[in-house]
């Protein structure tokens, strides 16, 4: 069962990767909520759109977030909301482009990891690109995958 399922998911993922459209188009795709790797896509889309609710929806109510430069974790929906609220307001126009994402499923738990580039605008109109790596520990709640722990850090650091 798990093996056939895995093949199926792989097939979907391959289809998605082969799709010429980027992450921005993921929301329009009919992708199954059972794929934990899609959480990264959902997160990237919500971040790029500045959709705070969309971002919060990705996380488990007890989720723990390690921000990219954060010196401590944010735990729980409220803390995570605060974090993203400040971030989206403080760093407007940031755009996440996933570079690679992979997910491994361990029963009701899955681990998704990958990298993305955070594009944005600096002072004087300068364009910035910050490579970031991430790891998402996903758990299934009520049949849907949510992020239980999210760790972000600079890819080069």
């Amino acid at each position: 069962m798990q093996g056939s399922m895995s093949l199926f998911l792989r097939a979907l993922l391959a289809l998605a990767l082969l799709t010429p459209m980027g992450c921005a188009q993921w929301s329009s795709l009919k992708i199954s909520h059972d794929n934990p790797a899609l959480l990264a896509d959902r997160w990237a889309v919500a971040f790029t759109k500045g959709d705070l609710n969309g971002l919060i929806a990705v996380y488990d109510p007890d989720a723990i977030l390690w921000g990219t430069s954060a010196s401590s974790t944010r735990k729980g929906t409220r803390a995570i909301r605060d974090y993203y609220g400040l971030l989206l307001a403080g760093v407007p126009g940031a755009r996440v482009v996933l570079r690679d994402t992979s997910a491994r499923l361990y029963g009701e738990t899955a681990v998704a990891a990958g990298t993305y580039v955070l594009h944005g605008s600096g002072g004087g109109g300068r364009q910035t690109a910050t490579p970031v790596r991430f790891v998402m520990v996903c758990v299934k709640r009520a049949g849907a995958w949510v992020v239980a722990e999210h760790h972000l850090s600079l890819a080069g650091s």
Binding site: S69, A70, S71, A89, V91, L118, G122, G123
Partner: protein
């Protein structure tokens, strides 16, 4: 010979000195000009170095700003920092800032808020002061980087601020680097200047923050020129023994404290490139001075060498050496001078010969003159004294020569003297004998190595040659001579005595008519007495040895008049009383009679004026010498004396001898006329001893005749004398003249004169000469009127 000049006063030394002075002055002036130019150039060069240093400093600071700006931009663009800022993650902000600070090498890395508050500070602890947060950081709201310099503690920080893009904006990145020794050393390395970094508050002293090398900020004076636009201020520094120039580049002026970089250099260092040139210049100057000194000495020697030769020639001439030529073979002015000097030498030699001839030769006869004769005589005496030899001196006086001159004229007299000279030369054959003309008709002969016999033989030869008749200008003249002989050592042991005694012998020969006489001591007594009397006469006047005495004159006609003749007396301290006949003739011969006459007139006039002032009407008269009549200023002298004593000339009778009038009648007539016009009474003295006729005397403005005592004394016993006196009195009366008889020595004569109608008489029988007070008493006692006449003789 004059001593040689000190070397410092020689022309050579002066020329050398002037040359050296000029050259030294020029060299010093040239050295000073070049040195000054070098100094100015060095200063200019140094200032250029400082200006270059300022530009390099600006460039370094600008590069620093650019580096900081780039780094700050990267910090501002850092997502992590922006995320940390956005999420208020202070620790992450610090971490990000520290990471950037360490990467860029900056000392200051901060995030500040819109009010300047520090949001995050990762500044190095070495420059983080407590007051850092209290001051605002200049920021730009337009997104451009702001820059500035801030003093933090003991450090000056160059910083930039750049805003972080956020929404809403409200944070700036601050990055700063310390302006430390590295920058200053880099600047010093690039510019070779001493560099200091200083700060000060307001006008206070600069405080050194950092410096290249060991240089400390000198001269804490505030920079002058705070108000100028330029941030660079020139400020000379002289706080140390070394002269410095400083360029103060103000990096921060407002707000305080000021921050400045001091670029400094020593003036000496700026002149270092010219040291070689200065050394070369100094060497050239010294070499030039040495060469100039040598050259000037050589030139001076070349110029003065012919002058020294001329000096030598002049000194030879000074010593009478005219034989050396001073010709200097040169074609320039010195050569001309030498030639002129030679001509001058020849002319001096010729003139000296001429002067010598004139000094020692008689121009008329060519014989040695008195000076040369005396010189030779003295030499001969010296020789005789050394060799115990003998010599003889002959003095010769021509007889009747005056008659020749008077009758035939001086030209004939001169020819006669020449002929006499020629005959004397012929008479004396020895070359050692000297024949000289002493003056007038006096000649002298010196016979060395001759005794009295030889001298007498020579005198006879002289007499023989002169006794021969001479024919001159067609006149046959018989001439004689009188010769006196004096022999050394019998008659004198020196030249003066020999000459004087030869003269005495000559006069003795003339008196005796013997032709020649050798000296005899008996001849000398009267002669020497007369000569010494004449010599002492001057002293007598000065020492009041002369005096006037008055001999009253008795009026025989009964007219009430008082008159007296004053006689001159010489009370010699050794010889006793000397009568005028002993010295007046000599005074007349020497011309001293003028002084004597004036002295007598002055005394007589004073006495007469004194009598008149005291109411005594006593007339006086003065006997005037024949020489006085020939004196040019005699009239003026007499007139002056009248005015001096305020005396009426009519009280004075001037007596002139008959011979004086007849010597030059025309002159005598003129003088007597003038005296008569002035008011003087005039009398002919010693009448009867001359050859004048009464007819001639009638032409003269005389008032009185005085009959000579030689006739008066014979009046009683000699019929001829009586006839002469009688005739004279009668003729005088016929001519309107009064008559005075002199020499009345007895009563018979006096009575005879009274019978003959003589007007006045005087003589010892009447009264001897009296002193002035005695005369006054005599007149008071006498009942008859008298008149006083003054006589010199």
């Amino acid at each position: 010979m004059k001593p040689s000049l000190p070397r410092t006063r020689t022309l050579q030394a002066r020329i050398s000195g002037v040359f050296l002075l000029l050259i030294v002055s020029m060299q010093i002036a040239g050295y000073a000009v070049v040195r000054n130019a070098i100094d100015r150039n060095a200063r200019h060069h140094g200032r250029e170095e400082l200006a270059v240093g300022e530009r390099v400093l600006s460039q370094l600071l600008e590069e620093g700003v650019l580096r900081l700006t780039g780094a700050a931009e990267r910090v501002a663009d850092d997502y992590l920092l922006r995320e940390a800022l956005a999420t208020r993650d202070h620790a992450s902000m610090i971490g990000a800032l520290r990471r950037h600070r360490e990467r860029t090498g900056a000392e200051v890395a901060m995030l500040v808020g819109p009010r300047g508050q520090v949001l995050a500070d990762a500044t190095s602890a070495t420059v983080r002061p407590a007051e850092w947060a209290t001051r605002g950081i200049p920021t730009s709201t337009r997104g451009d980087p702001a820059r500035g310099i801030e003093v933090v503690g003991e450090a000056a920080i160059q910083f930039v601020t750049i805003p972080i893009r956020s929404n809403p904006p409200g944070a700036w990145v601050v990055l700063g680097v310390r302006l430390d020794a590295r920058l200053l050393s880099q600047l010093a390395l690039l510019t070779s200047l001493e560099v200091s970094l200083g700060t000060r508050a307001s006008e206070s002293h600069w405080r050194v923050l950092d410096a290249s090398g060991d240089v400390q900020l000198r001269s804490a004076r505030p920079a002058s020129g705070q108000g100028v636009a330029s941030s660079a201020l020139w400020e000379p520094v002289a706080a140390t023994s070394e002269e410095w120039e400083r360029l103060v580049v103000v990096l921060r002026r407002d707000p305080e404290p000021e921050v400045a970089v001091m670029l400094e250099r020593t003036v000496a260092r700026a002149a270092v490139p010219f040291d070689g040139l200065q050394d070369t210049l100094l060497v050239l100057t010294v070499v030039g001075l040495v060469l100039s000194a040598i050259g000037s000495v050589m030139i001076a020697r070349r110029v003065t060498r012919p002058l020294r030769e001329l000096v030598g020639a002049a000194r030879r001439i000074e010593h009478g050496d005219y034989g050396h030529s001073a010709i200097v073979p040169r074609g320039d002015e010195v050569g001309e001078l030498a030639a002129a000097f030679d001509h001058m030498r020849d002319a001096i030699a010729a003139r000296e010969r001429r002067i010598s001839d004139l000094a020692y030769a008689d121009a008329l006869t060519g014989l040695p003159n008195r000076a040369l004769f005396m010189d030779r005589l003295e030499q001969a005496v010296s020789m005789a004294q050394r060799t115990h030899g003998r010599l003889a001196v002959l003095t010769i006086d021509l007889d009747r020569f005056k008659n020749v001159n008077d009758t035939l004229g001086h030209p004939v007299g001169d020819l006669l003297l020449r002929e006499v000279a020629a005959r004397l030369r012929r008479a004396l054959e020895r070359r050692t004998d000297t024949v000289a003309r002493l003056g007038g008709d006096e000649f002298a002969v010196l016979l060395p190595m001759q005794a009295l016999d030889g001298a007498q033989l020579a005198a006879r030869k002289i007499a023989d040659v002169l006794s021969e008749s001479l024919t001159i200008e067609g006149y046959l003249i018989d001439l004689g001579a009188s010769t006196g002989i004096a022999v050394y050592p019998e008659h004198g042991e020196d030249s003066d005595n020999l000459m004087r005694r030869a003269d005495i012998a000559m006069y003795a020969a003339k008196r005796a008519g013997t032709g020649h006489e050798a000296y005899d001591a008996r001849q000398d007594q009267s002669s020497s007495g007369r000569l010494s009397l004449l010599g002492e006469l001057r002293q007598a006047l000065e020492q009041d040895q002369l005096s006037l005495v008055y001999q009253p004159q008795l009026a025989l006609s009964g007219a009430p008049e008082r008159a007296a003749e004053v006689l001159l007396r010489w009370n010699h301290p050794k010889r006793g009383l000397i009568t005028p006949d002993k010295f007046v003739p000599f005074a007349e011969r020497t011309g001293y009679i003028k002084v004597l006459t004036r002295w007598v007139l002055d005394g007589a006039f004073r006495q007469c004026a004194d009598w008149h002032d005291r109411g005594l009407q006593i007339g006086i008269s003065v006997n005037v010498s024949a020489r006085d009549l020939h004196t040019a200023n005699f009239l003026q002298s007499v007139t002056d004396l009248l005015q001096r004593h305020t005396l009426d000339a009519t009280r004075i009778c001037l007596e002139v001898t008959e011979s004086a009038v007849m010597e030059d009648p025309a002159l005598a007539l003129g003088v007597l006329q003038r005296l008569h016009e002035i008011g003087f009474r005039l009398a002919i003295d010693d009448f009867g001893t001359g050859y004048s006729s009464l007819a001639y005397l009638k032409r003269l403005p005389v008032d009185e005749l005085k009959i000579d005592k030689s006739f008066v004394r014979g009046l009683v016993g000699d019929r001829d004398d009586a006839a002469i006196v009688r005739a004279t009195i009668d003729l005088a009366h016929d001519m309107g003249l009064s008559v005075t008889a002199e020499g009345v020595e007895d009563e018979a004569v006096l009575n005879a004169l009274r019978r003959l109608g003589c007007d006045r008489a005087q003589g010892y029988f009447i009264s001897p000469p009296l002193k002035s007070d005695e005369l006054e008493e005599w007149f008071m006692n006498a009942r008859s009127s008298r008149r006083v006449a003054v006589r010199l003789l």
